[in-house]
Amino acid sequence: MSSLVFVIFRKEMRELRNTKTLLLAILLYPLIIVALLFRDYLLAAPRSEILAQAELLVPFVGFLLPLSVAGVLSMDSFVGERNRRTIEPLLASPISERELFLGKVLSALVPSLLITYVFVFGFSGALSLIEPTLIGVVFTASVVVRIFWQAPVLALLSTCVVTVVSSKVSDTRVAMQVANYVVLGLVFFSFFEFGFFGDSLASLVLVTSIFSVIDLVLLMLSNRFYKREELMKRM
């Protein structure tokens, strides 16, 4: 991967670190869940109940969080640059369309996965101190596939789609609405897939493999999705 992809990535990470309110908004969701569960524990809820909640919440949050966070971050990728009028000097630099696209995608994907895994490991680790059997109960093979393969693959898909949409609209609200539809669509698809195939590991691997191929194709075609000129025209 070109070094310019990482130049974009580092810049986006600096921006994210310095945007405290956005960071807080992203972290709020997992923090609320942690707070709720620990409240239950502190109120001496039965251990079986904590276990049942963890069994439900860890895979759910582990799947949903990367999708929603990546959606929010990628939504702002181009439309944000355009609205803040920083896109012109950026596009006047020697960076290629593909490098710019990959840099933006990486900048949305990496923090979303990082936050998710910190939550999944931190939360599960903390609960396993209370209930040592938790890890074995919660982390079944299909949950592992869902959190560590399907979730990143679908998050990458939503990031690619939303980043392209962000490059084609000039209004943040439009990009946000589209991002919502994409994330909701993928969540509904996941529910549908679960309802149709049940907890079958084979079908999960098959569906995730198909999405992995779609991601690969999207990344390979990334330089065809937009041109500098299109980004400039909307200024």
Partner: protein, 344 residues
């Protein structure tokens, strides 16, 4: 350095094609400061976006530093520094981080980036602002930082889009001085777009006047002023010039009009001579447009002879007034709009 041949850019707007840049032919040489003059919407920014490879031409070609803007756009981008109309800085990052990011985008080594930032911050006087965020800076400071960003990779061509727009006169002047210094030190080709004619007149050697996407006149500032200046001579004198003498001057073949008066006239400051407490009078003699340059010299000699021969009348100076670039510019735009009205 920048050569365009019939460069054209059309934008489809509501099923119509708007021509933003219309068959522009320009040759801007290495090391010159070239001015692009025109009213808002004339096509100056679109021209900059074409030669910095942000937009692709609809037709025509252009080369920048020997590279084609369509086929070799990456090479062009590496050699061009663009100062946009808006300072366009990342508000959440410090000035240092803003500059470092662009240094990395242009592929500079980390050490070299730090050296360039330090040098440019010194030259453009913002060393103490490096750790501040753009939101805490004044407009002038932001503009200087943007100029540094455009210069970070030592581009061969610098495109400055309205560099002093929205700046107070003092800051605008300091930015102007910086631009002149940049050209002097490194022999860089600089193209400045502006509708501030005074600014262009002060810093540019040659200009192109652009209106509705078309270059309506180009040349050196002096040549344009000569071309559009009315053929006339101003004789400043002390004393009294009787009506009879004025009538004599009016009768000289080739003289169209004679204006005589004291004080401020036609842009000439006819001040009071402090030593003798005598008022300077101004005699402006305007020649017919058909008069040849050789005949002009003869008329001036005749007029000077008449004034000098008048008793009690002493000539202080004889000057040939030139139009300012602003007058040339306004005249050209006025003529152009009249042409358009007529063609309707």
């Amino acid at each position: 350095m920048i050569h365009t041949i019939d460069l054209e850019k059309r934008f489809p707007i509501k099923k119509k094609k708007i021509i933003a840049v219309n068959k522009v032919n320009l040759d801007i040489e290495t090391g010159e400061i070239f001015g692009l003059l025109g009213p808002n919407g004339a096509g100056k920014t679109t021209f900059f976006r074409l030669v910095s490879c942000l937009l692709q031409p609809t037709s025509g070609t252009a080369t920048v530093a020997g590279y084609d803007i369509v086929k070799e756009s990456t090479n062009v981008r590496k050699r061009v520094g663009l100062l946009c109309e808006e300072p366009s800085l990342y508000e959440k990052q410090t000035i240092h981080d803003n500059l470092r990011f662009f240094g990395e985008l242009y592929g500079l080594e980390r050490k070299h980036i730090e050296k360039r930032i330090s040098d440019l911050a010194g030259t453009l006087d913002f060393t103490d602002l490096l750790l501040r965020k753009p939101g805490t800076l004044s407009k002038g400071q932001r503009q200087r930082v943007s100029l540094a960003r455009a210069l970070l990779h030592e581009p061969e061509v610098l495109l400055l889009d309205e560099p002093t727009a929205n700046l107070d006169p003092e800051t605008a002047n300091s930015v102007r001085l910086s631009i002149k210094e940049l050209q002097k030190d490194e022999k860089r080709t600089i193209v400045v777009s502006s509708h501030n004619l005074d600014e262009v007149e002060k810093i540019c050697g040659r200009v192109a006047i652009i209106d509705n996407g078309k270059v309506i006149r180009k040349g050196s500032v002096n040549l344009l002023r000569d071309e559009f200046s009315a053929k006339s001579v101003l004789i400043s004198y002390v004393g009294i010039l009787p009506d009879a003498q004025l009538a004599l001057i009016e009768q000289v073949q080739g003289v169209q009009e004679v204006r005589n008066g004291a004080g401020r006239s036609q842009g000439f400051d006819l001040s009071v001579d402090d030593t003798k407490k005598l008022s300077h009078h101004g005699l402006e003699v305007i020649f017919a447009s058909s008069v040849s340059d050789q005949r002009v010299e003869e008329i001036i000699s005749e007029v000077v002879r008449v004034v000098a021969a008048t008793r009690g009348c002493n000539i202080v100076s004889v000057t040939s007034p030139k139009k300012s670039l602003e007058e040339v510019y306004l005249k050209l735009l006025h003529d152009k709009s009249e042409d358009r009205e007529e063609s309707r």
